[in-house]
């Protein structure tokens, strides 16, 4: 049974078809990369899966359950988490609170319990804090736990976005250009990190990435979008030699 399945998904904004007849099957444990030139519809595809947009046509299924048109927070709670291309941290909150926010729906105490600071509140909050610290330690952000998110350096902000997404306890993680704006060393660190959390948490990952050496190295499969259309799909070796892909990236041969 596939973990995620997009069936004939299209979305149009006015006259523009951003994604057209997209079909994706993700098996549990896979790491699939989505590549394509700017404006190819990669991020729009993520927005369809996470419920930010509702597809104009087609269905999206997650663990054999139809999630088409479901509210974003409900999709997140089912186990789909994401990071953003342009970092969207809760800037005014501390690092640990950024992570704890994702535990929101697991903080099973009532509003009154929080207001009256009951035993249950204290017990649950202690567990959540410990859990958040554990996650931050894994991502080597534990020393910055009390720092405000906006004070973190760029690389740490990217890691915190991943930590915050992991706190949702996802089965499927969508990473939108996690290495954009990074130097080779930082890119290498993020690559290691992705490989590490994938193993540690038994994750399925959908990755948008422009760094081809990274994509070729860690992907099980690659999906190539251009102008909203899936022009190729296959393992890294096949994609590298696919004439359509070469054309999309390098232009038509003279």
């Amino acid at each position: 049974m596939p973990l995620l399945e997009m069936q004939h998904c299209s979305i149009r904004f006015g006259g523009l078809t951003a994604v057209s007849d997209c079909n994706v099957r993700l098996e549990p444990g896979e790491l699939v990369s989505v590549i394509g030139p700017n404006g190819a519809g990669k991020t729009t595809m993520f927005n369809l899966v996470t419920g930010v947009y509702r597809p104009t046509e087609g269905r999206i299924r997650f663990e054999d359950r139809d999630i088409t048109g479901m509210a974003p927070h409900r999709i997140a709670r089912l186990g789909i988490a994401r990071t953003f291309q342009n970092i969207r941290l809760f800037k005014g909150m501390s690092v640990i609170d950024n992570v704890r926010t994702s535990f929101g729906h697991m903080a099973d105490y009532s509003l009154w319990s929080g207001v009256l600071r009951t035993q249950r509140f204290h017990r649950r909050e202690r567990d959540l804090a410990a859990e958040a610290t554990r996650l931050l330690t894994l991502l080597r952000l534990d020393k910055l736990a009390r720092e405000e998110a906006c004070n973190l350096c760029y690389g740490d902000q990217r890691r915190l976005e991943i930590a915050r997404a992991m706190a949702v306890r996802p089965k499927l993680l969508l990473l939108d250009e996690p290495t954009s704006g990074m130097n080779p060393t930082e890119t290498h660190e993020i690559t290691e990190l992705v490989a590490f959390i994938r193993k540690e948490f038994d994750l399925t990952i959908l990755l948008i990435e422009h760094d081809m050496s990274l994509v070729m190295k860690i992907s099980d499969r690659i999906l190539v979008l251009d102008g909203g259309v899936t022009i190729a799909e296959g393992d890294p070796a096949a994609i590298q030699s696919n004439p359509k892909v070469i054309e999309a990236y390098l232009g038509e041969p003279a």
């Binding site: 974003p72 927070h73 997140a76 809760f90 005014g92 535990f103 929101g104 509003l111 035993q119």
Partner: protein, 405 residues
């Protein structure tokens, strides 16, 4: 060990707070000038309004201009209850009269809070889909709708009465207002509400709901992607804030012994927004301190010596702040503030009679001037998003090293 011990300790603190407030009420009522007592009450009511609005505007980032509307709903609901049913209740309740009064007053306040909260739910669900300016306009419109309804409700309801009784029919008083509400509010009740709202909002913003609120303020799309139900979060914050505004309305009506539509205009909403923004969006102590500061300044400006004192303090305070901030330009600062001081003094000396005769008219302009200067110098509010940390202050005074982080 901890469960019963914690409960006992808390009950002890609660009893101590109630006792202290009751004691203060007795002392203040007899020891201080009624004018100052009146200002204290107004400070308390402003704090309740500002802290509850801070939950909506400051912590959740939803700009509401409808606080006066919720205050009106709570005020009129509770006022009408004690006005119409009060005497009957007190006669029938099986308690001695003072106890019956308390039961009546507390039920009236709670009724006002519940109705205002319900109105918050009805207004919030559709309008919290709007963002920023649009939400501000929608809530502003709501506030005006409430005021117009208050003015016309009596005439609308009176059609159910015989024709002869229609003109004298009083439900909530219409444009004339409802005078003759019993004076049940006092220092004790108002500051009990202050303690209640501060504790509630403080604990809320440090719980899961509070983190959700702040996350919505910081980035709504990211919050939703992390599983935060943004609609529920916004509506909850709105309902809780509105309910406390309703309670503040009840306290207000039962203090000035009447409810008048002009007390609940758009300007009242703006007044609360000013306190929240000036104190710092998302700072509770900021709201508390600013509420007190503005109510005091507003009253001190009534007389010329008071106004002069405020402005001298202002200049000296500004000088001290600039002095501590920048070492390089102290000479320039010194000159600037010296010019201000001399200018103000000369003005007071030579224009004394003119100022003296016009201080009542100048008050509004001076108040606005102070707000503008404060806002220009502290756009993030007096305290920004920080809280005055009394525990930390005490520790620093005792010079004990802080606990390891």
């Amino acid at each position: 060990m901890s469960a019963p011990a914690g409960m006992v300790r808390r009950a002890g603190v609660a009893v101590a707070v109630v006792g202290l407030l009751a004691l203060l009420e007795i002392v203040l009522r007899h020891a201080i000038n009624p004018y100052i007592y009146d200002i204290l009450i107004r400070i308390g009511i402003t704090i309740v309004l500002a802290v509850s609005l801070n939950l909506i505007n400051g912590f959740t980032g939803q700009f509401s201009l409808g606080h006066a509307g919720f205050m009106a709903i709570g005020g009129y609901a509770s006022g009408a209850l004690t006005y119409h049913l009060g005497p009957r209740w007190i006669a029938t309740l099986p308690f001695p009269e003072p106890v019956s009064q308390i039961v009546l007053f507390v039920s009236a306040l709670l009724l006002g809070a519940v109705l205002a909260g319900a109105a918050g739910l009805i207004v919030g669900v559709p309008s919290l889909r709007l963002k920023g300016d649009y939400l501000a306009i929608a809530t502003l419109g709501f506030g005006e709708i409430i005021r117009v309804m208050v003015i016309n409700l009596d005439r609308m309801v009176s059609v159910t009465r015989p024709v002869a009784e229609r003109d004298s029919y009083v439900l909530i008083g219409g444009a004339k207002g409802l005078s003759g509400v019993p004076q049940y509010s006092n220092f004790f009740w108002v500051f009990l509400a202050v303690v209640g709202v501060v504790l509630m909002v403080r604990n809320l913003v440090r719980s899961a709901l509070g983190r959700a609120c702040i996350a919505v303020r910081e980035d709504e799309i990211a919050a939703a992607a992390m599983g935060v139900d943004t609609t529920r979060t916004k509506v909850l914050a709105f309902v809780i804030g509105s309910a406390w505004a309703g309670l503040a309305g009840g306290l207000h009506g039962h203090f000035i012994q009447g409810l008048y539509p002009n007390d609940f205009t758009f300007l009242q909403s703006i007044d609360v927004v000013v306190v929240v923004v000036l104190g710092g969006n998302g700072s509770l102590t900021g709201s508390v301190v600013t509420a007190a500061l503005l109510r005091i300044v507003e009253n001190v400006l009534r007389t010329l010596p008071g106004a002069a004192t405020v402005f001298y303090l202002f200049i000296v305070g500004g000088a001290a702040l600039s002095w501590s901030k920048s070492k390089a330009r102290r000479g320039a600062f010194f000159l600037k503030f010296a010019v201000y001081l001399i200018g103000l003094t000369l003005m007071l000396v030579f224009m004394h009679d003119w100022l003296q005769s016009r201080i009542a008219f100048l008050r509004g302009a001076l108040y606005a001037f102070i707000l503008i200067v404060l806002m220009l110098n502290r756009p993030q509010g007096l305290l920004g998003r920080h809280e005055l940390d009394f525990g930390g202050l005490l520790r620093r005074l005792r010079r004990t090293p802080p606990a390891a982080a």
